[in-house]
Subunit: 203 residues, 4 copies
């Protein structure tokens, strides 16, 4: 099994995970500021959970994957600072409670750190790949959102996702149903996350 | 309780953790190459365990400590590469089994990641502080070992240990017997580790 | 803070967690067999996750709580066998995938095993207390469901929940916002779980 | 690989793990009371660590192994109460600090709960099998120690170790070097533990 097999085999789910009116609105400028703010706050919470989950994933990793994972942790922690600065500029309160949709995704992440390493790495790769592809659909970004769209599609980030995909390729070579199921859950949660930000609810 | 209270309150143990004929020999050139090689191989194993333990510690950390911990992980993973290059230069086999003394210390580290965060951070700070102080006693280092002595006492590393100590100060402010006991175990294991490298056994 | 403070302080949420048309239907016989089957299958999945979470909670517990937690694990594992026999009698397929609502709750459980012990125990107590109180509203149970209603309200189970509440009282004495928030999430997930079983969806 | 392959393949280590002057002395009555007391206190600490490790192992176990593991947790927690009563009868202080040898073994146990499940189960089986076989060499036990020797060789315990061995057989069927190495460490630690109790030190 390869990363491409997963993406290709779940094409519909993957498309839904990486295309959304939220992203279209960030491209053409029609996205409501309140929806973007809601997304920013909830994604900050998720990024915090992801930093910690990456710590646990690294704790299970073989020697050869430590560099790409350490780099990811470093970048994710730097990202938290960036979120905090952007939230401050926009007057957003980052102590807003976790939305149930964001909580379910963050808890899924934590829970998968109890699964075998191949599942953990599949989850991490899939969510980063989805995030990158999703934001690419918003390029070049409407003026109000351009800075953000560029930030989440920049070359360094893309190169890191490629390195992560190379690591995922190694574990997926021996992967099976557990990895495929994890991929589907990630795709589903990605879609839910955009939807939650866009509408403010679960619907 | 402060970091200084711990160091001062266990002065004898701390001295034994940071002064050893092994280090004297690295300074004056009398250290046997076989002892140094033994140390290098076992410390590599320990560094690998420490990288993973740091991942777990970061997973438990409050927001304010994430930067110093992420930086530590990054540096420790880079250190693994450095050990591997130095081992290759010296023709050392890094697949040599873990010595019981190194295993006990590495397992202690893993086990403490199940303790409250304050204990985890105390352990991490104490071992890094001991390592830095120990290598400083070997400065400037005999020609055969100078490169190593300088590597483990450099300014970047010292600054990072200071940042870690600032984080440890925060958790130790509310610390008690559990943190003191952890400090003592670290000091004891540091001493055992030098002794193991120096003599090749437990004695 | 006491268990009663939590229940009393979140009276509306707690009522919603422990009263539901699903339970009314189990009492008066109007509950659809398909809804009950759906519940049985998803609750089996949840019970499996709960057994494992209880193992982790016990791993964090002080000496004095080990008996009540060990007893809970023993009972929960026996419960899995009971679910399997009842599912077989009814021709139900227990390999049916986890519903997103059941997954979110199960993952929440796993994720909280990374929180301090007081939060873990609060979660376990709250969910068992809610389960017992909910099934009590279905007493004596319509003939079709009587065996189940009696099983989940029996004296042994009630006595164990009381013992768990005594342990929870000890940790809640020093509890705060984290425990209150956990209590709210449990109440919310309990409500969602009945609703999911009743309607088959999230709505 | 089977359990017998491991025992047979490491016959010398296994013999040293299960035969010791400590046990001979418990059989013929020459064992010093102070050595037995030291053993009792340190084994209590180890039993506490083992209870918690069993919680973690159960959290990783497949459905089919949950019963044997839940039974083990229940029995181990009951054992803690028994140790406490025996210690009280003998006026022993169970708050005595962990001996380095007991700590190394207990931490090894905790650390292996981060390894794949097959390794975890191999460790648990190996240590229980060694414990049973060791105490059997002390049968029927000198009058002063008979109660203890009988307690740790009784039929219920032996039947449980057999059930655990059946579970271990399943995971060892796909086992390799990691399981063999774990088996060796357990055997080594068992031997160290008797020696520590017998002499009071590491020598």
């Amino acid at each position: 099994m390869t990363p491409s097999d997963l993406v290709g085999g779940e094409a519909e789910l993957w498309h839904a995970a990486t295309h959304h009116p939220f992203l279209d609105g960030a491209r053409d400028g029609t996205l409501e500021g309140t929806a973007f703010s809601r997304w920013l706050v909830q994604d900050y919470h998720f990024a915090l959970a992801l930093s910690r989950a990456e710590g646990r994933i690294l704790a299970h990793a073989p020697r050869e994957d430590l560099e790409v994972l350490a780099q990811g942790i470093q970048a994710m922690v730097a990202e938290l600072g960036w979120f905090e600065r952007k939230a401050a500029e926009r007057g957003l309160d980052l102590t807003t409670p976790l939305h149930p949709t964001a909580r379910a995704y963050a808890d899924y992440l934590q829970a998968t750190t109890h699964e075998p390493y191949a599942v953990q790495l599949t989850v991490l790769w899939a969510l980063e790949r989805a995030y990158l592809e999703a934001w690419r659909t918003a390029l070049p970004g409407a003026p109000a959102y351009r800075e953000f769209v560029e930030h989440w599609t920049n070359d360094d980030y893309a190169a890191w996702v490629d390195a992560l995909e190379a690591a995922a390729s190694r574990v997926l070579a021996g992967g099976g149903e557990a990895e495929r199921e994890a991929f589907r859950w990630v795709a589903r949660y990605e879609q839910d996350f955009w939807q939650m930000a866009y509408t403010g609810g679960d619907g």
